[in-house]
């Protein structure tokens, strides 16, 4: 069996003189003030069980409740409807599988074609047990066609799930309009939105938008990994997927991850206090820097206000994305790609294919996610390194040379 030494690989890689982390799609860098807020809760206070009647337990319960209140305030919802789970993936699975288990009948489920796998895969597993599943197409910028949704929703429809913001190409869906159309066609439909990439980036007043369930993820707003949120509207029934003992969380058994909740709470406070206007300026600086200096490039997803302020996704023709991620890594720029070469089968990102990108554009795509901790200098460094990396790999490539 092939078991390479990762430590030998890291040694061969070395540490580049400057490092810029832009892979916040896949996992996040956590600001020091968030880590600092977490530390006392491992062994100074709040290390008890939130459901047990002792002081460390009550300290823990205080964290759970105040975190729910902090999150609820940002969504303008009741804190008692904010449920903590252990990741965005878990929250999406809980929303879809849990609500359908509680429904106790089969029906039709509609999802957009560019949902995250943690929405698509549980939906496809429901197809295996008799649900009808329809993947609604999107246009070339990733927008769901509201007329198609109007046609698809019928009396059999039980669940619709459409992302607020796409995780790969940053499309900000016209969610309120979509929800209105769905509810107008069939008011009994449960509407779920995966808002992991929207939270802290675009306005998200859950009840005003009209959704019934909303997923959030801590690491997507620079909180620690290991916290997800499912907000469930009053009256919508969801069965917990995991069964176990004692918890303050009706939808998730087991002891709450209190230190991570503290970190998440801090991350939410910071995200909503700082605002994101500076990030969209950096986003456009990165996009324009790359598109102006490199030929045969394509911006994937919309530009301007209908694009998430932190998202940059660009295809570099004639080069393969995984090689680009490795080349950039050697130069201290950490990003990910929609290339098939990072997956088990010869299939690039389903999002890129759904927006009509050809295979070369999909294989050669890079995803950058900016944060308010990045500077103009970081962006300029990244542009320089991308220019050189694409240049080098195009020299190696037989494609695009006429």
């Amino acid at each position: 069996m092939f078991m390479p030494s990762v430590s030998a690989l890291l040694k061969a890689h070395g540490t580049p003189p400057k490092e810029v982390y832009l892979d916040h799609e896949n996992s996040g860098w956590v600001p020091p003030e968030v880590v600092e807020a977490m530390l006392p809760y491992f062994n100074e206070k709040g290390y008890g069980h939130p459901s047990i009647t002792n002081k460390p337990g009550w300290e823990a319960l205080e964290v759970v409740e105040s975190t729910a209140e902090t999150v609820a305030a940002t969504l303008s919802v009741d804190p008692s409807l904010v449920h903590f789970v252990h990741s965005g993936t878990e929250a999406n699975n809980l929303a879809i599988l849990g609500s359908m288990m509680a429904l106790k009948r089969r029906g039709k489920i509609i999802v957009s074609d560019i949902e995250h796998y943690s929405v698509l895969l549980p939906v496809l597993s429901l197809e295996d047990v008799g649900f009808g599943v329809v993947r609604a197409p999107v246009d070339e910028e990733g927008f769901v066609d509201v007329d198609v949704i109007r046609e698809l929703v019928d009396s059999e429809t039980v669940l619709v799930s459409v992302q607020a913001v796409n995780h790969e190409i940053g499309t900000v869906q016209r969610l309120k309009e979509i929800v209105e159309i769905v509810k107008d066609r069939n008011p009994d439909v449960i509407f779920h939105t995966d808002a992991c990439d929207a939270y802290g980036r675009v306005p998200l007043k859950a009840e005003e938008i009209g959704v019934d369930m909303m997923t959030l993820s801590s690491h997507k707003i620079l909180g620690p990994k290991g916290v997800g949120v499912l907000w469930v509207s009053e009256g919508v029934r969801v069965e917990p997927l995991l069964k176990g003992a004692l918890s303050s969380q009706p939808l998730w058994p087991g002891v709450e991850n209190v230190p991570s909740l503290v970190g998440f709470r801090k991350a939410v406070e910071l995200a909503f206090q700082d605002g994101l206007s500076r990030v969209s300026t950096l986003r456009d600086r990165l996009i324009n820097g790359i598109l102006d200096r490199i030929q045969d490039t394509q911006l994937n997803g919309p530009s301007g206000e209908m694009r998430a302020p932190d998202n940059v996704n660009i295809s570099f023709l004639h080069v393969e994305g995984e090689a680009l991620t490795v080349e950039l890594s050697l130069r201290g720029v950490y990003v990910s790609s929609g290339s098939a070469c990072t997956s088990r089968v010869l299939e690039p990102s389903h999002v890129m294919l759904a927006i009509g990108k050809d295979y070369e554009a999909a294989h050669g795509s890079l995803l950058f996610k900016l944060t308010r901790y990045h500077s103009k200098g970081d962006v300029d460094y990244v542009v320089d390194q991308v220019v050189e990396s694409v240049g080098r790999l195009r020299e190696i490539s037989p494609l695009g040379k006429g």
Binding site: F2, P4, V6, A8, L9, K11, A12, H13, Y117, L120, L121, L124, D296, L317, H318, V319, E320, E322, A323, V326, E327, L330, S339, A340, C341, T342, S343, R344, V345, L346, E347, P348, H350, L353, D358, Y359, E360, H363, E395, I396, S397, P398, L399, K401
Partner: protein, 166 residues
């Protein structure tokens, strides 16, 4: 539906990716071939300069171009090193396992990179003997050639209608 898997590389792959040997197009090669397709994200071009030495056709120089991942570039690079100075008859015997071994091993999901490199080499050798096939060169496609062809055909079959080039 694809799921991502961890893809650690060996230091050898990283080193060859960083400093590939024999990289670039060869002008007027005596034999050349391409394997793979842009659709599946892997293309390797192999170029050979060949000279007659005694009874053998010997590879004097080999070069490559690659559109593909780091493993793909490393596999093509190491193959051009291995074949240099070898007769075409000996070069024909190089298996994808030899290339993978020289790279310090390849994860199963990356084996096709090595298969594509060897498939490309064999295609170039066949190209050289297009007009007169020596006895040692099998008439039928070998397994590795078939596998390279299968990868190209599979992607055509699965997504034929969707593949478009700029």
């Amino acid at each position: 539906m694809s799921t991502r898997v961890p893809l650690p590389y060996t230091p050898t792959v990283l080193e060859l990716f960083r400093n590939p040997k024999n990289m670039g197009k060869m002008e007027n090669p005596d034999a050349s071939a391409q394997a793979g397709s842009p659709a599946c994200g892997d293309v390797i071009s192999i170029y050979l300069r060949i000279a007659r030495e005694g009874d053998e056709d010997v590879i004097e120089e080999a070069k490559f171009e690659s559109y593909g991942c780091a493993a793909n570039i490393a596999a093509a690079s190491i193959l051009t090193e291995i074949v240099k100075g070898k007769s075409l008859r000996d070069a024909w015997e190089i298996g994808w396992e030899d290339v993978a071994e020289r790279l310090g091993g390849l994860p199963p999901v990356k084996r096709h990179c090595s298969i594509l490199a060897v498939g490309g080499l064999r295609r170039a050798i066949r190209h050289y003997y297009e007009k007169s096939r020596p006895e040692w060169l099998p008439e039928d496609l070998t397994t590795v050639e078939k596998q390279a062809l299968e990868e190209e055909e599979m992607i055509e079959r699965l997504y034929g209608g969707m593949i478009g080039r700029e």
